[in-house]
Symmetry: C2
DNA sequence: CTGAAAGCGCTAACAC
DNA sequence: GTGTTAGCGCTTTCAG
């Protein structure tokens, strides 16, 4: 072990099989080759442990069998589940997936998108870092892009999302229905689409409930992460007139908010809570929480399927697919 | 928008700057070029929005700035945390990371390893699917490999792990110390190193406790996943003489086991429980559980650092780094 | 310090 | 069906 053995090339296989390099290439690309030569080539390839060099192939074809999936937080189970969906579909189609963690940082995201271009990747699925994420360079180069979870600002690309506004409204409404009177909202960064829309839903349900206070006093922008949720929850609880329930706009912030509630022995339903997105490893979480379930894996599956269609040449105008989210409120008995 | 604009090449930049292609290449590779020409080149490159084509560069150099990270379960927070560590280090060094989900399947894993070779990737970090995972083809081609979490069977590669046996022993011992008398073990697949070693630790502590029963009667092999943990837990609870405590060999199976315990209203400490690996989103889990904390992110950081050293030409003999894991038992007061 | 030129391994015209 | 050949865009001797 340890000697360096360079990869066999198509030329060596050709020589051993007594055919031309082109024929070897054809065999490995499923083109018409006589059964006889085909067998010869395969035998030679086996003998030399030949594997086609993908780099060379990509350079020649200007297009690789790799997809990029750009997400803002690889440690968020929502995104890993989505990634899992993408990976499954891609893998079945013979593609592999580069998972790029943008960390919600536009620069890091831009760098990954550059790489996708300069590596001639087949296409990109992106959950944009924020409103200003820019996929023009991809589009300009004719690389297929599909937006997932968040749809990009004013650009014509395929997108697959859930109905954020409706989900936010329904979750908030459920809280009012459960008898809470003062429902706060913890949402994400003010420049992230999903954060805005979910808060919109909350605002709309709050307004419809004809509350006596100013809704905006109970809106906190945070960062879609656990610690952000903790902090936001603390802020809300320390208000002069604290809310008696909160709508939290993503799974991770819900975990943080819940931690604070647990520490203060005010677990739901003592304080009402609704989460947009399933609590990770839900079975460990207390009952009594209203949850908007998101089809995370399915988002990934759908996005990957759409992307592959585009890669195969589908030219129809950009589509937006909105996936259904379901809501589950706690049993009345738990209240 | 929508027109296809092919990427500018080094030749076009050279023409515009009035220098040779080689000089453009040198500028972009930080080699010695006169300040004057260098400026000319940069200006031309800006104007043409030139980005070097990485595929071509890789083909020529037979080596790319991409690392592969092969893990058995992308939905396991332990691995995403590890991945995060790898990504951070790689990113700082100008590398990107392809995350490959092997699903614990040797064939899928082998396919990803083939791709790593045929794409000339810089190196591979692998948490092997099982004992028989084969990285010889990488080694034979001189590609650096570092094993993480699980170290490969009888192959000379760098590895970074935790002390699985000691952790299993300590966790089990803690359970006996807490007063439990019959400690079962739920571990992973019989052909996965970590599963074997953690169970070994359990066996050793159990034997040392001079129990009157046959330890092996209380050992269940499962699959390191939530549902597997559920099933294993049910099996154990339905024994004629059920255990009064369980040592669970990974985080996900602990979640499953805990679910069953919660459903049956036998939450710890009613039944004792120790988990090898932090419970995901621990704050949501009940207290009273003994936990062997794993430095997941640090495993990734260390592995990536070692891999980069190898890529830079480090030739020292293979090293194995064993990272420290700490254990936390519940307060006596909670019992 | 700079340029000319030869490929890296593969695919795709183009001939036969 | 099959072979010949010309590159894909870049790096890297080798001269100068």
């Amino acid at each position: 072990m340890g000697w360096e053995e360079s990869m066999a090339t198509i030329y060596e296989v050709a020589a051993l099989a007594g055919v031309s390099p082109a024929t070897v290439s054809r065999v490995f690309n499923g083109m018409n080759v006589s059964a006889e030569k085909s067998k010869l080539v395969r035998k030679a390839a086996d003998e030399l442990k030949f594997t086609p060099n993908r780099t060379a192939r990509t350079l020649r074809k200007r297009n690789s069998e790799v997809l990029a999936l750009v997400i803002p937080d690889i440690e968020n189970p929502f995104f890993t589940s989505l990634a899992r969906g993408v990976e499954d579909v891609a893998h079945d189609a013979g593609y592999s997936v580069v998972l790029c963690n943008s960390d919600g940082d536009r620069e890091k995201e831009a760098k990954y998108l550059d790489i996708a271009v300069s590596e001639d990747m087949g296409g990109v699925i992106i959950a944009a870092a924020d409103e200003h994420s820019n996929v023009d360079s991809l589009l300009a180069r004719g690389r297929p892009v599909v937006a997932v979870d968040r749809s990009p600002h004013g650009v014509e690309v395929d997108a697959v999302t859930v109905d954020n506004r409706a989900g936010g409204r329904a979750a908030t409404q459920a809280l009012f229905d459960q008898g809470y009177r003062r429902v706060a909202c913890i949402t994400g960064p003010a420049d992230v689409e999903t954060a805005i829309l979910r808060a919109d839903g909350w605002r709309s349900a709050t307004t419809a409930a004809k509350v006596a206070y100013r809704p905006e006093d109970y809106l906190v922008n945070s960062d879609f992460r656990v610690d952000g949720g903790r902090e936001a929850m603390r802020t809300l609880l320390s208000m002069e007139e604290p809310p008696d329930a909160i709508f939290v706009a993503n799974n991770l912030m819900s975990v943080g908010a819940l931690q604070v509630l647990i520490e203060r022995r005010q677990m739901p339903p003592a304080v009402g809570m609704a989460s947009f997105g399933d609590l990770p490893f839900a079975a460990l979480a207390p009952a009594g929480i209203t949850v908007v379930h998101l089809p995370a894996r399915h988002l990934g599956v759908t996005a990957a399927t759409m992307l592959l269609e585009r890669i195969r040449g589908d030219q129809q105008p950009a589509r937006t697919v909105v996936l259904r989210n379901t809501i589950s409120a706690p049993e009345a008995s738990t209240l």
